[in-house]
């Protein structure tokens, strides 16, 4: 068991930088998730940790010692690949045994470990089948088994569930969680699915274009997104973003206006911003409420009724699209004009810096969470 540190890690393929200056530290026994859109460099980071890819600059350390030049085999990590990558010409048993044979484990020990792993993952009944004869879920289990059987210091998962159908994905998510609880090893997990990240992680690292955007516990990221990117990435449906202007700055918050809409008061710290500065108002769909009587005008364009909840799509004013998530079922229909209100406690403000796509939050700690 060991802590893993990345110090200023950068990876270049030719002249393109795919991973830029990543710094982080993963604690022993932690379930650590990298999440980000595809192509952002998650796999590359994982593969550098595994020793499958060289590090262009910076250091990867285990317990303080750099392991940049250590071959993959000697790092004591095990990896589960997206496409399972079970050796197709070997049975599940042979797949599990292959790595142990390579490091010269004694036959009885190999057998013991395979039995144990098979019981843990419930793959005993198809140990002697080839991967081709297994279903997707069974293959996934076998692939995890191949990692578990090596008793590695750390598990690396690269989008292991993305080839499974949604139902199975949920089941496997829980199962991997159980295995983590049972074994207690460090697990490093890569996914592009924020839901997976939120549901499994102890801590999450959000990546964009090879750079770390924010590291933190799932709810930290949800409640206090460090910037507009993280805010948009975490949470489903996506956070709504509206262009706004600061109208008035008060001691406990900021009053902003969205053009053509009544002023909105947000519990946030304006920092160095002045009245009249443009900002982006972020509000989660759950924080918008449909009201009877007074409120902001909203024109419904479409609705999705899912039974337990419903989504309302529409326009606040011309050009300001909004998604509203409502508990239960709603009677509104397309074209209808309704009144809504925004919960000031669930509003976020982001800085609009021209030229920079990323918007920074005005206030790292919206007062709503401070109040909790």
């Amino acid at each position: 068991m060991a802590t893993l540190e990345l110090i200023n890690v950068t990876k270049r393929f030719g002249s393109t930088e795919v991973v830029r200056d990543v710094n982080l530290s993963i604690r022993t026994g932690e379930f650590f998730v990298f999440v980000g859109p595809s192509g952002c460099g998650k796999s590359t980071i994982l593969r550098m940790m595994a020793g499958l890819e060289s590090v262009s600059s910076g250091e990867i350390r285990i317990d303080g010692t750099a392991i940049n030049d250590k071959p993959a085999a000697e790092r004591g990590f095990a990896m589960v690949f997206q496409s399972y990558s079970l050796y197709p010409h070997m049975t599940v048993r042979q797949n599990l045994a292959f790595g142990l044979e390579n490091i010269g484990t004694a036959r009885p020990e190999i057998n013991r470990r395979i039995e144990e792993t098979a019981r843990l993952l419930r793959i005993d009944s198809y140990l002697d089948r080839r991967p081709k004869a297994l279903s997707g879920g069974q293959r996934q289990r076998a692939a995890i088994g191949r990692a578990v059987v090596r008793e590695p210091a750390m598990f690396l998962f690269d989008e292991p569930l993305s080839n499974l159908d949604p139902e199975l994905r949920v089941a496997m998510r829980i199962e991997i969680g159980t295995i983590h609880a049972r074994l207690g090893n460090t697990m490093i997990y890569v996914t592009h699915d924020q839901l997976e990240a939120m549901s499994m992680a102890d801590r999450i690292c959000v990546l964009r274009d090879g750079q770390v955007e924010q590291i933190g516990a799932p709810l930290d990221l949800y409640n206090r997104p460090a910037n507009r990117f993280v805010a948009g990435f975490i949470g489903n449906p996506r956070m709504n973003f509206l262009d706004a202007k600061i109208e008035k700055i008060e001691s406990n918050g900021v009053q902003v206006v969205v053009e053509g809409v009544a002023p909105i008061f947000v519990l946030a710290d304006a920092g160095d911003l002045r009245p009249g500065d443009p900002v982006t108002l972020g509000i989660r769909p759950q924080a918008v409420e449909v009201q009877q009587g007074t409120g902001l005008d909203f024109i419904v364009e479409a609705t999705e009724q899912l039974g337990v909840e419903s989504y309302i799509y529409g326009e606040l004013v011309k050009g300001s699209k909004l998604i509203i998530q409502q508990r239960g079922q709603t009677p509104v229909t397309r074209g209808q004009r309704i009144k809504i209100s925004l919960h000031p406690r669930f509003c976020h403000l982001f800085r609009t810096s021209p030229g920079e796509p990323a918007l920074e939050p005005v206030e790292q700690r919206p007062l709503v969470t401070a109040a909790q």
Binding site: L52, A72, F77, S83, F98, G99, N102, R150
Partner: protein
Amino acid sequence: MNSLLTFVSRRRGTHGSLHWTDWVSYAYLCLGTIAMLWPVAWLVLSSFKSEGQLQDFPASVMPYSQVKVDVAGMQDQLPLFNVKTTDGTVTQMVQIRRVGITAEMAFPNEPGRTIEVNIDQRQPVTETKFAWGNYRDLFHSSDFVGYAWNSIFITAMSTIIVLFVNSLAAFALSKYEFRGRSTAYVLSIATLMIPPTIVLVPLFLVVNQLGLLNTPWGIILPGAATPAGVFLLRQYMLTIPDDLLDAARLDAASEWKIYWRIVLPLAAPALAVLAVFAIVWRWNDFLWPLIVLTRDDQFTLQLALNSYQGEPQMQWSSILAMTVLTLLPIACVFTFLQRYIQTGIAETGIR
């Protein structure tokens, strides 16, 4: 016959009757079948005829032998003939003995009563019979066994080396990123443009300098690094996912082990295609062995056939049998592996 007609005239998959072009197609294919099959069939049939029968003109289609029957009171079986008697009828009689142009003949059931018959008046009664004599003689001649052994040794060795050397190169070219990889690949493929026919003289020097003249290795080694093989295997290995290799690396497998335990087994279909090609290439090789192997104890079957057929007092009976035996392994390979071969060729245009 009727059902055959309906079988043929029903098109695959569709119903409906035949267009005239279908009939023309079938006619063409039938002619083609005869043109392709007859020469080989004639060779095989002829190889079962004795040297005497091979001199027949016109020859009979099937190999035959004269019918002999038991006759009461005679120790040996006697040959049976159709005899044209003076009144023009034809009867079957056995020949007791022959004296000059007349033969002493008798009816099989009354051997005591003999008649003299002019030998022009009788025709031997024959039955189709395959004579294995030509083949037996071949196997009893130590020469043939030696040639066969040379051919087998060259083919087997060459195939193993081709598979090994080419698959290693293809592995490096398909599964590693390294500086100079594309140059290395282009260089390998460029040798496709150096057919042996244009480097005969200097290749002869090289083989001579290496002391390989009149040894099987003089054939095996120059043919071992086949660009076509590298190409074919590389194309196939590109389809093996890289993740599999990475998984093996994390499983502490050395690069050699990855090649030997992962890539090679997975490339088996392509290796099979290349193996078939390699077998056919070396087994059928002619020009280069003709130059390198000049001592006839080193001859391959192809060389032996060539030298036999060039001799003034050539014996077609043994040449024919030897030809059949030479094409037999290839025919077997073809029969069992033709799927592989045909898709291999269709996909790569190599042969």
